[in-house]
Amino acid sequence: MARVTQVRYPEQGYALIWFRGDRQLAGNPGQFVMVRGDWGNDPILGRAFSLVESGEEEAILVRVVGVGTRRLAELKPDDPLWVLGPSGHGFALPASDQNPVLVAGGVGIAPLYFLAKKIRETGGRATVLYGARNNRETPLAEEIEEFADLVVTTEDGSAGRRGLVTEPLAEILDDTSVARIVYSCGPEAMLEAVARACVDRQVECQIALESPMACGKGTCKGCAVLAADGRYRYVCSDGPVFESREIYKS
């Protein structure tokens, strides 16, 4: 059992929760934890969250969408937190000659924040394209600017460029003077558009998927996604990070 150490609210409806257990999780960017508060039988399942940080500090970013996430967002320092993980396969770091472009949609920023930080620590610097509906849905945008080059796009133009995040992505990928690698996490439609943009230009692309999940450990077979080969993959144990070509048909 872990304990909450700190909670911050980067935007209305979001909570950044730091916690500490008996041991360091030592998770990698893209890996996730199953998390649950001490609240009895309802809701009954844990919730899967990408690690935003791991090691000295462990953190997750919660967007409030229902009862479980609301209860998590209401946690206070020292509250108990049940944590299982880290689980799944994370992102493979870029090769030394690859310029990393990270494409986030909304709360999909969580694993990419961790990845951008890791890239900085290993001597690189990522370009982060952060798409959101409006300027109230860009948690961690300020923090990520400390160690990455940030481009924000919003659908209503209230922050950064007006439009979709795939537009600056296309511009960057069309400049073929440097080798790129793309990492993405966000809504399904965005991931598919990002994957397509990469396939069209023969750029490697790794995506982190999300799915309802019960066990988070590869046993319940609840988090199936249909892959490009017509067979199922399990987000928790085969992913959550996949090569985009494995999931989307080109």
Partner: protein
């Protein structure tokens, strides 16, 4: 803490339910899987099965609905890679069988009969998530008896038959399975439920319907254990929304000799061990054996 279910003796009455604990080996890093009474492994079919289209699970009040569709690695892979590992880990293994016909069940029973390290077979005639077989065998006495008999004739292992809460008359199905050679009965499997996303007007499961589990169905399960215990002389394994010691006691008082923990394994994979520790303490403090609790509910 030992309990006896006909020819099957377990070191304690706390088991984990099929489909909620994988093949057991996945949890060796978070707990000693040999400490619990038995692991009923994910249902095994002759051939591997891919399972149903997603989404396969959704959460409901105090429970969940699943429509996994018995995705499993199949007999060969289980016997070649998983079973040896379970033996190494010292787990007490109950193999849950799934076939689309009585013949397939019989074939599986015969193949498992010659394998080392299996404590019992659990015959799944109650899965609501498959097109063929499954629940269709479990809602009436005749097909339930036919499948049980087919398995019984091909194995010397203890046979547990897992019952559906959707049986037209569960006591009659229980009686038929008993007479056809079942050594024990486990109940209940999930009951079919449905949930709709009212924004999109679409079912929340790819298969439209699925099996409900968790504390939400516990009173139904307790009632069915109670009814079968009154009607049929056969050892029972109670299943349905058990998440703490209190729930175990409730099922035992209703007539169960042992219990299986299901959905609560997702809440915390160590639930069975934690409940076992509480149960041992309870028996010690009260000076009772598990068997002395069975069927002790006072209804008059």
């Amino acid at each position: 803490m030992a309990v006896r279910l006909g020819p099957l003796e377990l070191k304690n009455p706390i088991m984990v339910a099929s489909g909620t604990f994988g093949y057991g080996v996945e949890y060796a890093d978070v707990m000693d899987i040999s400490a619990i009474g038995a692991i009923s492994v994910k249902g095994i079919s002759l051939e591997p099965r891919a399972g149903n289209p997603p989404p396969r699970i959704c959460e409901t009040p105090a429970g969940m609905i699943n429509a996994i569709g018995l995705a499993n690695i199949g007999y060969d892979a289980f016997v070649q890679t998983t079973l040896p590992r379970l033996r190494e880990l010292g787990a007490t293994v109950v193999v849950n069988l799934y076939g689309t016909s009585a013949d397939e069940f019989a074939e599986l029973a015969e193949r498992f009969d010659s394998q080392e390290g299996i404590a019992a077979l659990e015959v799944n005639i109650s899965c609501p998530n498959v097109k063929a077989g499954g629940i269709h065998f479990g809602v009436r006495p005749e097909p339930a008896a036919a499948v049980t008999r087919a398995v019984r004739e091909r194995t010397g292992l203890p046979v547990i038959v897992k019952l559906s809460p959707e049986a037209v008359n569960i006591a009659e199905v229980a009686k038929a399975a008993r007479e056809a050679g079942a050594d024990a009965l486990s109940l209940i499997n999930t009951i079919r439920g449905m949930s709709i996303d009212v924004e999109t007007r679409r079912p929340r499961l790819g298969s439209v319907m699925g099996g409900m589990s968790g504390p939400a169905i516990r009173p139904l399960a307790v009632r069915l254990v109670y009814e079968v215990h009154k009607a049929v002389d056969v050892p029972l394994i109670g299943i349905g929304g058990i998440s703490c010691l209190r729930d175990v006691l409730e099922f035992m008082m209703a007539g169960a000799t042992a219990v299986q923990i299901g959905t609560a394994n997702y809440t915390n994979p160590r639930t069975s061990l934690e409940i076992l520790s509480d149960f041992e303490k309870y028996c010690l403090e009260r000076g009772v054996t598990p068997a002395e609790l069975v069927g002790t509910v006072k209804t008059n």
